[in-house]
Symmetry: D2
Subunit: 349 residues, 4 copies
């Protein structure tokens, strides 16, 4: 199979870097363009980019010349967008109009009725919205979005429980990693020996995005789930990996052992089980008293697996547990790539 | 006034050190003995102790010779106990029997019906239990306890709200500091770039201890509060200061502004407002979007003040907010000293 | 005695904050103005400033209105400058011309021949340069400078050794705290689980500034010391307190015990021993195998003391040891205040 | 080729874990036994081991049953020793006598005249000592050692310079990672917001071990290098990767550019260039002003490459630079495996 030409928009930022790293050995996709803001254009990527990942910069990217983030400069069938929201708002439709499939990590279009908000292992069927989006907007391309990094793992775990027990209420408190804020992001004096008990706009996202992803595609649009949420979001001194403490009320209460078995057995829709970025397993359930932990568990399933632990009874609702998910892999770049694979697999590219 | 001779049991540990530091310039109390385990006995304190506080070791303690933790070796009217729970269980009654007022940070006797579990700014009246304790047990001394470090600040905030609005349910997720685990405590490889989503036995304490402190003294015993709790407890890379994300359901719902005003206006019972360790103010309410933060706010009111911020509506219950409290001052040694001051002030020494 | 009116320039930055904190209860000085850049002017200080110190903002500063950093707006006999170097270069002479004594933490004038670079416990006599400065420049005020934060503690230790043994060569490697870079300063992703092995311009300062401070005032100018230096400077994940590993070659070699005794006995020139900010002691020598440590020792002598430890033989030169000094107290704001006290004490204000 | 059966002694410790991780997909070696202390024997490895690496535990190891660390229980041609020094001292000779090649990370035998201390890219020829060792001791097996983790990278860089310019004196100050101290190792309260300016016994090792590795095999024994060293060693809040600030005096002084070219061009002896663990490249030279950094550069060349940066003139000696090396890969387990590959390649197994 010929490789599909892809591009990364916002390539020099921390999520852009993660795209570049994950696409290094991708079996379907070949990076043909790295686009960024004015300051970097015309420079070699290795000169333009302050690399912040633990893993070294892939060789293929080092000598690529950074190009402008415009459809004229970027000849790619798929563009992965790590753009800031305001910029994404303007630019992503330009690419979609020009025929590219935009797999976006930005929040700008997540709430649009005809734009799918995707976690393939949860709601692969929502990809059908793309057809409607093309009709509505007259685009030959399209925009696909993935959720904010905290909602990603949380929603995977909720989906498994919801299918079997019906989740009614969700109380979620996050301890989020620094890479979620980009680079330079959080000043060191704000986080060494400290916690920041707020992330702007994040609680609203966590309280809404899972409802769309867990909603039903009725052939025309997504009916939002009736699940109700309360979220507190915090920043802690962790490089990668968001931890979320969750309590849930169930329509059909169960015991922790049964819930663990259901979580462990959760399988993605068949069409997305064997894609290059499919999480293997979708959910890993830990039995130790003190897991999951971000440093030790974030790379489970190459960072695509949702890790759940400490499933136990909740004195107010029904169950409590802890969810961990890699925020820049499953929760950002890896998720966008998985979405792109779904699009290709469905013949919608 | 002559100073009252006091002693510290478990003086070399991290809470013991905090006692020594806080008692440095105490107007009522004079440290006459530092007691610790066998290994240290007979050594100069400065040789026996691996000091872990940010503040230097007080001069008065450096040359004191460590003595055994037994009533024979310790001649003091008040003994502050920073002993481990199993040791406290045996030793504290020996001191109480021998006539000392034991102000304990250990959990061993917190649940005993005739032992007060005290936060003077919340339940100073519970000190009356001491009389009954002396009758029940035939002691001339007594045991007073303070709550675990996470319950301390949480309960102060709940008390203020409960008085005005009636708190029915509490969802609490903690981000706890390392000093809560003592020394050597948490290995560095467990917490750098990491979170530990569990603290053994802590959730049970947070779900029960506030109910005793918020309970009513009916002249005979404490009627536990009916408030219901769900707690998740986490360890994070912070030296001092426990942060707790809280959501509450109220009997008489209110708006965030009114709740803030009530919190800000909360006053301790009159008898404990002007003691040397009284928090000034009892509660500090922050208006910034990202406060309280442990590094910046833990020393508010010399570490005795409970700091509350981000008071806002909760989509599931009624209100959400964040509570911060210094875990080894208000939540441990400072709390025990405040309890001792209450005892003296009530003429119960 | 009436208090002397003083001002802080650059009041909202991290060194400015340290000035405000240290001046809170100063017996001689009263803060009458807080000046900062355009953005903050006209705001209450508590609104304009993102406070980053562990200690809470002093009450006196909270409601002061931030004024422009110009002689017209600031009526003070002494102005403490925490300005950035380029701004300091322009502004400080304006204040000196207008009659103020500028005690500056900026590097702009440290190398000027008629500007004293002061550590009172080392070279109080250099204050005499002020007279010449006034003649040369026609100022009624003056500019006094203190060294960069790494040179401060290092130079105090070298002075003690130089007096007794003659220091010829100095090899110095620093592990510097984050507050040295101001706020926002170092991004958290650059320093969690990391070291940055460079601080721009710092090595040159460490290799030159001690030579001026250890130089001799010959009645006309300072003859630079012939001591020779090699410095490596590194940033590490520490909030406050610079650690420096030092090896020295001596003209008259000695053993570690004698060197320790000399360091411990070092006294400041008599005129600066009893000022409000005088370090007590000037040098603290630790005997433990693993001290000094920044978190535990930086507040020795209220952060003004230089702490030395691990004095031992060096296989290449003569002695090795470790120096610790609080970078924003002894190495910045506290040093400037001590300089101001010296100026007042000498009748040169 | 049939895979060679190998074992790991001290498998549950942090270096043991690194061996297990690196041997996961080794082309020549197959792990047939994991041995540890009494406490773990008979348990499944995944139950016995508190895994501390960022990468998940390899699948192959999870269900292996931990066996005693004795020649009777371990049937392997090569045993990788991650034992503590005192235990290694007794056990390693037992394995060597029983016919195994012991590739040891312990320091117990590094100084023995007939035991090679190896960095294949530096002194592959020293492997010849094995023949003499077997004659001297009557062993069919042998003991090979690798240096302490700080000496590893330092010696690689010195070797390249020494070959071209003759290194006479070396001043080295390390900033060492936490994994060097094992698990539980350094308490978190000792290193968050802190530096520990000492590592027991480490400075002596850094001042001696490079002299053996850079020494000449004269056909009978190693003539130690005359290079002279002074070392300061520090622990910092880094998970993996030791940073060393180095200044050197050269017999034939050169400029930084030439030195960089020589470092960059350094090649391992031909026989060890194409082994599975050969560093590619041996030395990576960085040109940025602030590199190498442990988080960003430690995995260069899969953690086997020595990274050098900031090559510049030294005002006291000739050159200054910074060396970074992965302490548990190149400096421990990876180094031992490379040594084993050399042994096999030379037909000495």
């Amino acid at each position: 199979m010929d490789q599909i030409p892809v591009a990364v928009l916002g390539a020099t930022g921390s999520v852009g870097q993660r795209f570049i790293s994950l696409l290094d050995s991708h079996p379907w996709f070949k990076v043909v363009a790295l686009a960024a803001s004015d300051r970097s254009i015309g420079q070699k990527f290795s000169d333009a980019c302050r690399w912040v990942l633990n893993e070294p910069m892939p060789e293929y990217a080092r000598d690529m010349i950074v190009v402008p983030a415009s459809p004229d400069s970027v000849q790619a069938k798929i563009v992965f967008s790590a753009l800031h929201n305001e910029i994404a708002k303007d630019l992503e439709p330009q690419f979609a109009k020009a025929g590219a499939a935009v797999c976006s990590n930005a929040s700008s279009y997540r709430r649009e009725e005809d734009v799918p908000l995707l976690l393939p292992e949860v709601n692969a069927g929502h990809i059908q919205l793309v057809k409607q989006q093309r009709i509505n907007r007259g685009w030959s391309g399209c925009i696909l979005t993935n959720p904010n990094c905290t909602s990603a793992g949380l929603t995977v775990a909720l989906k498994a429980l919801d299918d079997s027990f019906g989740v009614k209420k969700v109380f979620a408190v996050s301890l989020q990693a620094l890479t979620g804020a980009g680079y330079p992001g959080v000043p060191s004096l704000d986080i060494i020996d400290n916690v920041i008990p707020n992330i702007n706009g994040e609680e609203e996202k966590v309280e809404w995005e899972p409802r769309k992803m867990l909603g039903k595609w009725n052939g025309n649009k997504i009916d939002l789930s009736n699940m109700r949420f309360s979220a507190h979001t915090n920043r802690v001194a962790v490089i990668d990996g968001h931890t979320v403490c969750v309590s849930v009320e169930l329509a059909r209460p169960t015991d922790p052992e049964t819930a663990e078995a259901i979580l462990r057995a959760y399988a993605a829709p068949e069409s997305v089980r064997e894609l290059p970025s499919s999480p293997r397993p979708v959910i890993s359930v830990r039995n130790e008293a003190d897991r999951p932990q971000p440093r030790l568990d974030r790379l489970t399933g190459k960072g695509m697996t949702t890790v759940v632990g400490r499933v136990r009874r909740d004195p107010l609702l029904d169950l409590k547990f802890v969810v961990l998910s890699h925020n820049t892999i499953r929760g950002a770049a890896g998720g966008s790539i998985y979405n792109a694979e779904l699009l290709v697999n469905e013949g919608l590219l």
